[in-house]
């Protein structure tokens, strides 16, 4: 297997691991998100229920006060008995009756300016009116005002009613003055928005006031309905026939209160977003997993891309990668190759890092010449390449020592270590009888230092240091043989 195939296999393994880890991490991430979202939803829901309840209670107080105020203001007409007992008989008004009517109109006009009344006047059985009864109200009532008001009173002394006209609907208060006169005052329903004060400023809070027929008297601007429409049926269904309740579910927090006159207040907060996740947990889980995986791959891609692009440019001439005579990696590429192998190695893998030195190499070179010493190295490298065939790195360093990085990974770490021992014992035998020279009359002594990745180091430099330390030990022991690095070697120090 050549070097490219070897690298491809490692990259493939690395990518498989990344996919598996990313999938697991994304699933954990999604589960955590769902947990947080659900927790947040529950808190939001509880807060929304409290909020709508408080708002509805405040509304009740304000509306009661508002209606009481209108009712009490009507008492102003009893201040002058002449007005309260006035009942023209008709059909046409007499001069005195016209005069009294004008006085009443002036009086009521003055009295009504204090508030935002739309109407403030009296309807008489003759069909006439006094005070301010606007054209809009006359149009809405239609026909004889007195007769219509009498129908609305339906025998009662006083009554509330609503004249629906979209945005300018009117809330009317009717009160019988005497047998021929009915007092009518009204306000635009929009004025209810004023009494809500700051409550209407909450964008998420919606409010409806409905009459006994579920028609909307007033609603906040943030709903699509308008006065006169029927309240959305979903709200009525949620109440299930109950009144004065607070309801909270995944869609809505709703509070209702009923008034004595049959009107009902609905205060509600619709769930903005997260609550929907509760109902769609599995789908959302899958979506989050997918999205986080996608994001993770993008991030990993960017990082790997950046790493490769930032790597120092390697010479383009491939021949520089291998020593032409030994056919092993040159010093620079040897370090590069081993560093790459470390980087993409699987977690839990076991590798051997070894440095082989021909004992007395310098002396051989000096006495027998460069060619001879080179021949010695070729012999040694041939043996090593043969022994460490496969996806392993065999190279030479600057000190004319041969370096090997070899994979012995196994699920059983003890077996991996034994394999290393066995392999190097076999190699040691091969190294005992290396003969060089024209007549093979010169036997080489080879010493080697071995350390294990990742036990003794995580980088090329660390491993090289430890292996060199062991090699030094081997040289000290008698000038040949293979020595494995042990912690005690540290004390001896390394030569580099």
């Amino acid at each position: 297997m050549n070097d490219h195939q070897e690298t491809g296999r490692l990259i493939s393994m690395r990518n498989t691991i990344i996919v598996i880890y990313t999938l697991i991490a994304s699933a954990v991430f999604a589960a955590t998100c769902i947990y947080f979202i659900n927790s947040k939803n529950r808190a939001l829901q509880a807060q929304s229920e409290n909020f709508t309840t408080i708002a509805a209670q405040q509304w009740i107080r304000n509306l009661d006060f508002f209606c009481d105020n209108i009712e009490q203001t009507s008492s102003i007409i009893f201040e002058t008995p002449e007005f309260s007992s006035f009942s023209p008989k008709g059909p046409a008004l007499t001069a005195e009756e016209v005069e009294i009517t004008d006085r009443i109109t002036r009086f009521m006009t003055s009295a009504s300016y204090m508030n935002d009344y739309c109407d403030f006047g009296m309807a008489y059985s003759t069909g006439g009116t006094a005070g301010v009864i606007t054209d809009g109200t006359r149009d809405l009532i239609g026909g004889n005002i007195y007769s219509k008001c009498k129908d609305l009173l339906n025998g009662r002394d006083k009554a509330w009613t609503v004249l629906f006209s979209g945005k300018v609907s009117r809330i009317c208060f009717l009160k019988r003055i005497n047998s021929d006169a009915i007092f009518l005052s009204s306000v635009y329903t929009t004025s209810l928005g004023n009494i809500s004060g700051s409550m209407s400023g909450f964008p998420n809070l919606s409010m409806y006031i409905t009459n006994e027929n579920n028609r909307i008297i007033y609603c906040t601007d943030n709903v699509k309905e308008k006065p006169g429409d029927i309240i959305p049926s979903e709200l009525i269904q949620k109440l299930d026939g109950k009144s004065n309740v607070t309801i909270g579910d995944s869609e809505i927090a709703l509070c209702t209160f009923d008034l004595d006159n049959g009107w009902r207040i609905y205060d509600l907060v619709r769930s903005a977003n997260a609550s929907r996740f509760i109902r769609m947990g599995p789908e959302i889980f899958i979506v989050i997993v997918g999205v986080s995986m996608l994001l993770a791959f993008i991030v990993i891609g960017i990082i790997i891309g950046a790493a490769y692009s930032s790597r120092p440019k390697t010479p383009k001439v491939d021949s520089n990668k291998y020593d032409p005579e030994l056919n092993v990696l040159t010093p620079y590429y040897c370090e590069e190759k081993i560093s790459d192998m470390i980087e993409i190695s699987l977690i839990g893998g076991t590798w051997a890092f070894a440095i082989f030195k021909i004992v007395g190499y310098e002396m051989i070179t000096e006495r027998l010449g460069n060619e001879f010493s080179k021949q010695s190295l070729v012999k040694l490298s041939d043996i090593l390449k043969e022994h460490f065939a496969g996806d392993n790195a065999v190279g030479i360093n600057e000190d004319n020592e041969l370096v090997v990085f070899c994979d012995y990974s196994d699920y059983d770490i003890f077996k991996a270590h034994n394999d290393i021992r066995n392999s190097f014992e076999q190699l040691e035998k091969k190294l005992e009888n290396i003969l060089v020279g024209e007549n093979e009359d010169y036997r080489l002594d080879v010493a080697a230092g071995v350390c294990i990745y990742p036990d003794h180091g995580n980088t090329f430099d660390q491993l090289e240091f430890k292996a060199a330390s062991a090699l030094e030990k081997a040289l000290e022991n008698g000038g040949k043989g293979i020595v494995f690095y042990e912690t005690s070697h540290k004390a001896g120090g390394a030569k580099r």
């Binding site: 991430f29 994001l295 991030v299």
Partner: protein, 419 residues
């Protein structure tokens, strides 16, 4: 090492993602600017104005507009009280005479010239802006011009074989034909009766009731003539008496005509037009020997800004929206008459919205020569009320005309202005 960095980056991204899930929701409130806006009108005006205000607040989410509105009669009294207490709204639609009542020296309202960076005044001519100018200060800007106009149910006139009236005498002749059936040739409410009688007397005498400076021109004799003419209109059944006016009479065919502001034309005429009646705009009634025209135009209303408004720029932006915006033009149409603003007019023209009885009446006002700018004194509510009171009194013949003319003359003198 690099792989480790990659894993660290992934963890960091995850942490950011998780922190996003647990983000804080912040709901801000009470940070909006608030301006108040008051106007009067009928329901149709309320409805489209509320819509327009919502459009404005949608375009300016940091601005909240508080609305106060009502129909004219009660609203006018409320304005008196608010001005007396200096509780008026930031932006106001006001009637022409209020300009002079509440700002006689020009300091009662904000000088809109100072806000010309926000209000596009180039949409108006100098003459149009002069309606709101007092002592060189631009107190208000008129949105349209208005005049009392005669509308007739031509279907009903045709039924009686009558031509539409062009002179006062034509009205009296029509009354002779229609009154046996209980039908009146026209219907004059309080304001219409007042302006019609003024026109009649001015045409007859050539004297203006008030000149443009606010100085009274009529003497007691002219007011006696005015009340006499009114009594004749009622006695000869040209119109019902003011106290008997029922706005449904025109719709029900009891009145064959009505006189009202252009801005109210739709309210009075549209129900009849919907019933298939032929409702037409009539001539401005004249005497054969008229010395002057006697008919007046006035701003339908003016937009003003409170003199010490808290947020003048915001108020000015809102006034510009009301006067010049495409949105307001679309909502308002010609409910107040043909708008004076060039930009608003362009919108209405391009959208084919210049149509209907109000448009016809507006075009007639524009094309009729001799219609003058009304004196704000004629709009004075106290004076109109004095006329109303006198009209009702002579209706029942409780007192002589001279006494009522004197009272009216005194009320008119009290209404004089020094413009």
């Amino acid at each position: 090492m690099k792989l480790r960095k990659a894993l660290l980056s992934l963890l960091l991204a995850s942490a950011i993602g998780l922190s996003a899930c647990g983000g804080t929701d912040i709901m801000e409130f009470g940070k909006t600017e608030e301006i108040s806006f008051s106007w009067w009108g009928k329901d149709v005006r309320h409805s489209y104005t509320i819509d327009a205000v919502h459009m404005f607040t949608n375009m300016n989410p940091d601005v909240n507009v508080l609305m106060e509105y009502g129909e004219f009669d009660a609203f006018q009294k409320r304005m008196d009280v608010m001005f007396a207490a200096h509780n008026e709204c930031d932006v106001m639609q006001i009637n022409y005479d209020w300009l002079f009542r509440f700002s006689p020296d020009g300091t009662g309202f904000y000088d809109l010239n100072e806000l010309s960076d926000y209000i596009d005044l180039s949409n108006f001519t100098e003459d149009q802006l002069s309606y709101g100018m007092i002592n060189g200060r631009l107190n208000g800007i008129s949105n349209a011009l208005n005049t009392q106009t005669c509308y007739y149910n031509k279907s009903l006139y045709d039924k009686y074989g009558l031509e539409l009236p062009k002179t006062w005498d034509d009205l009296f002749e029509a009354a002779k034909v229609m009154s046996p059936d209980g039908v009146y040739p026209t219907e004059l409410n309080r304001k219409a009766a007042w302006m019609m009688c003024i026109a009649y007397v001015e045409q007859a005498t050539g004297i203006r009731c008030f000149d443009q400076k606010g100085k009274l021109g009529f003497k007691q004799d002219q007011f006696r003539m005015l009340l006499t003419f009114y009594k004749r209109l009622v006695d000869e059944k040209v119109t019902k008496a003011i106290s008997e006016i029922d706005k449904t009479d025109f719709e029900n065919g009891i009145s064959a005509g009505a006189v009202c502001w252009i801005s109210d034309a739709g309210y009075y005429c549209d129900p009849l037009i919907e019933k298939g009646m032929d409702i037409v705009v009539g001539e401005y009634l004249q005497r054969p020997d008229s010395l002057i025209m006697g008919w007046y135009a006035k701003p339908t209303s003016l937009y003003c800004i409170k003199r010490d408004v808290e947020n003048p720029e915001t108020a000015a932006k809102f006034v510009d929206f009301l006067l010049n915006s495409e949105e307001m033009a679309g909502a308002q149409g010609i409910e107040k008459g043909i708008p004076l603003s060039k930009s608003m007019l362009e919108v209405l023209e391009s959208n084919g919205m210049l149509k209907g009885i109000q448009n016809t009446a507006s075009q007639k006002m524009i094309s009729t020569k001799g219609i003058e700018r009304v004196s704000p004194c004629l709009e004075n509510n106290t004076l109109v009320s004095a006329f109303d009171s006198a009209a009702k009194t002579i209706e029942f013949e409780k007192t002589d005309l001279d006494a009522e003319a004197e009272k009216l003359f005194e009320a008119a003198k009290a209404s004089e202005l020094n413009i």
